[in-house]
């Protein structure tokens, strides 16, 4: 079985904090990590050295994620690099169109997966290792208590409606300093 030390992973995200986060996860697990702040930089990185795996944000300035993928597709070799889309906009108006396009099966030929932000270190690492064949595909690591709590918050955020928001706001307005 291959070792993480033999694998180079390209992290593409316009937010420096997120680049630091993802590269930290992978470095700690022993991977070789390269980062890029947009599609343009990512393309330069691929040209310098073909990575074994790419973690890709979709919405970025200069060259967006999907345009970067269109560039990769031009090379038979690059088109087979495993891709993991990591985005906060996977299933909303902002991301749906790009998302459907990428997962239509016509854009890329290699393994393709996606994660929605926010993402836990365990889940992120598990996906990378599974796709690279470093651990058998199967159950995700069991979500521990903080993760469950976070998921609950996420789902509640997803269900927020105007009324609820207005209630929150009026509460905040009554005590504005307490909110900040």
């Amino acid at each position: 079985m291959a070792r993480p030390e033999d694998k180079t992973i390209l992290i593409v995200d316009d937010e420096p904090d997120i680049r630091a986060y993802f590269s930290g996860i992978l470095e700690r697990a022993g991977f070789e990590v390269v980062t890029a702040a947009d599609g343009e930089e990512a393309l330069e990185a691929v040209k310098r050295r073909k990575p074994d795996f790419i973690s890709l944000d979709l919405v970025m300035p200069r060259k967006s994620g999907i345009r970067f993928l269109y560039e990769l597709r031009k090379s038979r070799e690059w088109a087979r690099i495993p891709i993991m889309i990591v985005t906060a906009h996977a299933r909303d108006d902002l991301g749906q169109g790009d998302f459907d396009q990428i997962f239509s099966g016509k854009t890329m030929f290699g393994p393709l997966t996606y994660l929605e932000k926010p993402v836990s270190p365990e889940r992120f690492l598990h996906h990378v290792r599974t796709i690279l064949g470093l651990e058998p595909a199967g159950q995700e690591p069991d979500a521990d208590a903080p993760v469950r709590l976070r998921r609950a918050i996420e789902s509640r955020l997803g269900e927020l409606d105007v009324e609820a928001l207005q209630r929150i706001m009026s509460a905040l307005e009554r005590n504005p300093e307490g909110g900040g």
Binding site: R28, L94, E154, G179
Partner: protein
Amino acid sequence: MDTSAVEAWIQSHLFEQVPQALAVLDREYRVVMANQRLTGAFGDWAGRRCYDVFKRRVSRCEGCQAARVFSDGERRTTDEVWVDREGRHGHHVARLVPVPNGDGWVGHVVIMATDVTERQSLQREHQILFERTPCYVAVLDRQLKIVRANELLRQTFGDHVGRLCHEVYKRSAERCPDCPALRSFGDGRVHTAQSAGQRQDGSLARYVVTTAPLARAGEPVEHVIEILHDVTDVLELKAQLVRERHLLHSIVDQSFDGIVATEADGRIAIVNPAAETLLGVAAEELRGSTCLDCVYPAEFLAVLDSRGTSCVLPETRIRVGEDDIPIRFAGVVLRDEESLLGTAGFLQDLREHQRLEREKLDAERLAAVGQTVAGLAHGVKNILTGLEGGVFLVRWGLEDDRRDKIQQGWEILDRNFHKITTFVREFLNFAKGRVPVVAPTDLNQVAREVAELYREAARERNVEVSTELEEGIAAANLDAEGIHTCLSNLVSNAVDACLASDRKGGRVVLRSRERDGCLELEVEDDGCGMDYEIKRKVFTSFFSTKGTSGTGLGLLVTKKVIQEHGGTVDIESTPGVGSVFRIVMPRARLPQPEGEDGGDGRRNGHGPT
């Protein structure tokens, strides 16, 4: 005077005095005597034969009437065409009288001729008149039988001479109840009546009948002339006119727009129900009055005074009682050469329109809040990811005793705490919305302030911020602080776009102008530009491509403020070339300043509480 003297006078004078041409022929047909009238008409006759004198012939006429008179001694009258001394043909009625001697032998014949040329041409004219007159003309006898009918009558009703009048016109065996012909027979005077019949082709004919007796005064009336004037077309036109007038009236009456019109003398003639409602005055009160400023806005009265012809006012106001009502107005002045024929005005009540527009703006604003709520989840997701990353790095540092990771993680945590604070504040600001303070504002002044605000900081980073402001833009009702925020957002974005570009340095231009009643503001940069995808998303909540520095709210706030001004924001952008953000605000849609018109024209609502 004795008898022989009378005879001598008769001989010498009567022969010359009678109003006829006289000639005496002998049995050789020679003219042996003739009066002056004959000589005047036909010339020298002495020794010439009658056919030579009257017809310029060299031999006797066929069927010579004189020859018969010589043979049987009977008087005769005959129509002749003779040729006078000038060569002209003329019609003559000639009476031939034998002059017998004692035993009955006719030795001479006297010809007495009357020139009827003129009478005949009169007759012909009369005939033509009778035939060709564009009426149906008939002569009736006492039984109401048609004894003569003109061409038009024969063509229209058929050639029915000899049949009864009512049979021909109405295909009826009965006499008409109010027959004017019978009355003319009765009293010898002219009568008229109106009636209807059926033409040969079966169509209905409406006509006016005039009957006149054909007899000299005092004589019994044997014939009546009947003239029918066909008025079918006239009646049809009249009915059509009535229908059209009716249609026009109902259009004017049913119109949703107020319609007002005045006559040449300046009196109000038309005030339709919509105008009554709009102006709050009964039509009866206005009709006939000359109170033009009761029905027309001041601008149209000025057009009238300056001898203009029309005016269209997309938005104006008219005084109604205590109120000033917003209306749309179109007015026309009808002139024939120099003289005024009248005026017409169309008034549209804009109160409902403006109310709907305010509702639409409110709805757009609510929709923006809705979008924001949806976007809130994503904003929080990004920050959560940052926090999660910070926590991960700190934990790693603690577990493996790596100070660098603790330091890195802590910085990320710190940044994201700041970010969530800013985020919540900006979000509250956006969702609550400050109440815009609208006042007449110099757009260029605001633009200059914003440019000034960014100029120095941008120059330090090699970006030139400049202005191109159109002079003479009149003050407009704006929320100066709101517009300041919008321009600040756009200029700040433009500077960032220049910094994100591969080129060193950049240029940002802030422009203002007024076109077709619209205020326009432009912020142009030669920065990195945007992809189609990014362009599509920039106004959506919490969309940011500026990494940690952006909350994604700037353009959303810009869009909201411009929407509150009734305007729009558009983008033109090419990756690697630059972007232009363009704000367009029609003056007509700008909000009214606070405290005017009892707040009727105010667009600014209050945020949800």
